[in-house]
Every structure is written in C-alpha cells, then in structure tokens.
Symmetry: C2
C-alpha cells in the first residue's frame, strides 16, 4: 500500500476468481462456464455487429436487449436492468440500496463476493448459518437488516430452495430488500421472477455467463419493480454511462431469443450432472443435491485439497475454497460428457 490508498482499499481482501491458466490447456471445471458454445445465432450476431460502427458509443440504455429480456420473462422493459456481468449488477445494488453503516445479511456459506462488496461500500454484514446439510434456514433471517442476499441455487453448494420459502421471507420482512442471485437457476431450479409483480421488496439477478454460454462477453441483468431498477439506473448513470458494449448487447439479445438452443443445452448439462453425481457417489464421494451447473462433493477418505492438487497435475481444474466449513469440498463444474468421463477415470485411478 502507499500513502494515496483510501482506508477501505487498504483494509480489503478482494475476491479471487477461479484461475484462468495460461501455462497449458486444462479441462476447465473451475469457473462454472458452459461447456457448449453459445447458439450459432449469437456468433452470427457478433459477426454482423463487427463493422465501422464500433467507433460509435453503444446504446447507453440497451433498449433492444432489455426488450428481449422483458419478452422472455414476461415483464415490462422498465422492470429490467442490465449490467457488465451480474457481478456489476450485484455491486451496483450496494450504493443503490444500502447506506454506509447499514447491515445486510446472507448465508455463511455462499458466494464469496458478498462480503467483499459489503466492505467496498462500507456496509456491515451478518451471516445466517446454513444447516448441516448446507440448506439455508430462511426462518433465521431477521427483520431490521436493510437487505438480504441469497443465491438460489446457492453457491458453491448448488442446493436450490423452494420459491415458497423465499416468498415466505418476502412476506415476513416487507421492508427488507431481498436480492435473489439466480446465476444458476436455469439448471433445474425455480425462478422468483414471477414474484416480482407481487413483492416490491424482491430483486432477481441473473447472468448470461452460465446457461447462455456468454461468460466471455459480460452481460448480467436484474428484474424487479420499476422503483428498484430505477435506483440501479441512477447508480449506473453516476458511474459509467455505457456499461455494455455494442457486441455484447447484440450477442446477448440473440442468445435470449434462441429459446430452443438454451433449453436443449441446459437439459444436456443437467443429464451430465446426474450421471456425474452417481459416478462420484460410487467412488465414495458425498455429493450435495445440485440444481446448478456444478456439483459440490467431498470424499470420505481423501482430502479435497489433495484431490484438487492431483487433478490439477492431471490437467483438470476444479475449484477448492479454503474457507472453514467447506475446505474439504470441491466444486466441480459440469463439462461435456467426455470431460466428466475423464474426470471420473482420473479420480478412479486416485482411489486405488
């Protein structure tokens, strides 16, 4: 650090994303990317957008993209906010809704970016302890906090809550904003989007990075009532007028319009997930019931850290978090069938 650093930056521990290695080709099962390319229509849209027009600013309001999202989710354009990845959308939620010194709440085992956002924006946080089976005890969220953040399915466990549980929470705490991060919802969980017209304290955040194979182009969005999206627009317009570039806007629009491709690839990933879970269990893993494009698994005899290191040596990257409570677990992204067969083979060899 040096004398120009702010106090907040001097004291913060930034989020560490899964590694993007450059040393050799790995089978990447560490950052929950989609193993399938985006719809061919997406690549076509990018090629069509590649013109002299990149000299011009993109539409700062991303109207065409918002309209496409609104059509898909049957909401109004004014209920949609878009950002440079759902991480940016989540980050914007803090200055939009929380004051420095306010308290927000989230599960103790969850997306590890939440405490980092809190520190960056000077917001206090408290955690609700997930149960022994890693399910979130929604009843434990208390009134008096300014906001609740909860991924559904939760990360990195993959466990999905029933939307009925979230609805109960929305009813019980009408003055607390509940932000549901649905990054992984398309792999078998139920979305809370249909509840946004019923509860003005609900904001749903989603991403194009997982189920729509666009991690490389950075597009995320939020759906909620107009008052909430307007607050996000105000933050965006006080931060960066043009957050999503021309190519990304067009690509995301094409992605959300190809419903058939989206459903087909998501179904394929779910099939592969179920097969992989069974195989892992046969090898002596405890595997949490996942509705995401990853599995969270712990082996009875071999430590997660050892497996992580040995898999890396074999050219397979998975994610290992050193946080207490989950340091003996691996988060394994669902790849293609071939990727997962190879993973199982390599693990089998380690079991002998």
């Amino acid at each position: 650090m040096n004398r120009f650093w702010s106090k907040i930056i001097s004291g913060i521990s930034p989020y560490v994303p899964g590694e993007q290695p450059r040393d050799k080709k790995y089978i990447k099962l560490n950052t929950n990317e989609n193993p399938y390319p985006p719809s061919p229509k997406v690549l076509e849209a990018i090629r069509d957008e590649t013109s002299a027009d990149v000299r011009l600013y993109p539409d700062p309001d991303a109207i065409a993209l918002k309209d496409a999202i609104a059509r898909f989710y049957q909401v109004d354009r004014s209920e949609v906010f878009v950002g440079n990845g759902s991480d940016e959308v989540l980050a914007f939620c803090f200055p939009a809704f929380f004051n420095p010194g306010d308290t927000v709440s989230f599960p103790d085992v969850t997306y590890s970016f939440f405490p980092v956002y809190s520190r960056l924006f000077g917001v206090e946080y408290e955690t609700v302890r997930v149960a022994g089976d890693f399910s979130i005890p929604f009843d434990d969220f208390r009134s008096g906090v300014r906001g609740i953040l909860v991924p559904n399915p939760n990360a990195p466990t993959g466990i999905a809550a029933d939307t009925g549980e979230i609805e109960k929470l929305l009813k019980k705490l009408p003055d607390t904003l509940v932000i549901v991060d649905e990054a992984y919802v398309d792999f078998g969980a139920c979305s809370c989007v249909p509840l946004v017209h019923k509860y003005d304290n609900l904001l749903v955040v989603q991403t194009f990075s997982k189920s729509r194979s666009l991690a490389g182009l950075r597009v995320g969005f939020a759906i909620g009532n107009k008052g909430l999206t307007e607050a996000l627009e105000r933050v965006k317009n006080s931060f960066n007028s043009y957050t999503i570039d021309r190519v990304a806007q067009k690509a995301a629009e094409a992605a959300i319009e190809d419903r058939e491709y989206f459903l087909r690839t998501a179904a394929r990933i779910m099939d592969t997930r179920e097969y992989t879970a069974k195989e892992l269990e046969r090898l002596g893993f405890v595997v949490l019931p996942s509705k995401a494009n990853f599995l969270f698994a712990s082996h009875k005899n071999i430590s997660a850290e050892e497996l992580f290191i040995r898999l890396r040596q074999e050219g397979i990257l998975v994610r290992h978090f050193k946080d207490p409570r989950i340091d003996n677990w691996l988060r394994i992204t669902i790849g293609t069938d071939d990727d997962m067969t190879l993973l199982i083979e390599k693990l089998k060899a380690m079991m002998v």
Copy 2:
C-alpha cells in the same frame, strides 16, 4: 424514489451523456466519437475472436492488452490498469484513493462527470475557477485536498495545458494525487505519461473511445506507478473480476498495435479541426484554441441554444450544456470533411 433507495441515490443527479438518437439518422457531432472506423486490423481481430470461446471468461487481468499498452507507452505492465471505458477507470479512482468526507478539487468548467462521481462516493469537492479565456489557473489548486482531477485537454473547452504547468503542480503538492484525464490528448496535446516515473502522485487516464475509434467497445486505461495501479486493481477485484470482455480486449490490443493508422487518422482529424475553426470564425463564432477532437464555439449574435435546436432540425447533433458560464457555447465534434462542410453550410444559412 421508494423506501429501498439509499440516501446517496435519492439525492444524486446522474450524468447525462450526449443523446444517441434512434428516431432518424443524424450527423453525430455530439459525443466526440471518431468519424473514422477503427483500423482494419481491429475488425479482423474481432472476427478472429468470434468463436465458441466466448463461452469462457476473459482474462481477468487482461495481460495481453496491458502488455500492448505498456509497449506503446514504454512503461511496465504493472504500471498499466485497464477498465470498461475510462469512465469506469475514473469511477474506480474514487474508492481507491479518496475516503468519504475527503475533498477533491477540479476546474469549475470541466468534465461534468467529476461532481457526480464525488457524490456517488461521498467525497466532497471544490472547484478552481477557470480564467476568462477558459484556461485553467494551475496555481490556484491548493494543498490540503486529497486529489486533483484535471482533463488535459480540458473538456468541454478543448484547451490544452502545457505539461510544464502540470509538472509544477506535481512538485508543489507532492502529497496530493493528481489525476490527469487525457481522453483527448492524441489530437495535438502533450501527454504526461513520461512523468509517471518521476512523480508518484501522478495518474494518467486515457481511452480507446476517441483517437482509437473504439467507443462502441468500452476500453480505457490508467498509467501510473505500481502503487497507484495496485489500488485500482483492488477496487476492480472487489467490484467485478472481469470488467473487459474477450472481444474488447482483442480489439483494443489490435488498435494500439496499429500505430501508423492511429497517427494518420488523428492527423486527419486535426486538419479538419483547423479548417472548421477558421470557417466558424468567418461566420462570426468565437472558437477556443482546441487540441481535442472537438471545438468549443460561441456565436456573437445567435444563442447557442437556438443554434443547437436549429442544427438538430437540420439533422446535425452537437452538444449544448446548460451549465452557467458555458450555456452560450456549443461543443462540436470533428467529423469527416464532408460532415463539417455540411455543418458550415447549414450554419451559413442560419446567419442570413
């Protein structure tokens, strides 16, 4: 507003960018875009990057792009920070270097995003009054402020300061961070980049949106000593791990590598600027001496607002700010020779 809005967002007036109209085709001289397309190598790079790999996250550290920038400016990679447009880079400077309640200083006539950033991050600001000729009186910046923000050339005047003046300021206030926004520096002004090795209180911010014709892809950067760029990395990694998408990284890399194209198009814009300035003066405009890709001009007899409205009716968009001191001025982006000839013709018709 509603009960979930934060105090800051309830009280803020977001920045308003120049309009990006959708109703009809205009000659856009209102947002300082480059009239020329990016280098053909940029479009080629985008096409090459359009592959199944968009399913994968981009390099969060944008190493290849940083290396290309470092080579061009003869600095070390560790002295380069990149962001989603220079607006994001400038926004990140606030939590990186300024604490809530600190005071920063900038000219009273300058980039109108500065006060908005200040309010968003709870930072106080004071202004230094530009002279009657709109030059910045650098001697008026006082010690005791945490940071100074100054565009060079200044916006929206286009007036460039001598780097000697900025160096004097860096020497005089060694404990104040001076952020020089060089968005328009490539159109005839001198860059402060060579000073970053001499002064650890200097951060230079630049963009690919103007001189490199990439407004549509959102890439900006900062150059400064490692301590400063590290603070920015910490903010970025506490906000959004992947701020620049795959396509934008590749495009910007190709843009900065085509030095010859860059110099040629910048020279062309400067020629057009000089021709346009002379023509405007012949029509009775006062035109400030510009080193940017725009002119700031005021007519002796016809109000800026009237000219703005009448030009819009004629299909030409320019920028008119309603701020005191500059509300009788127009900011006119330099387009192609044809664009400017048409502008002059239309204005001439309004003078009779």
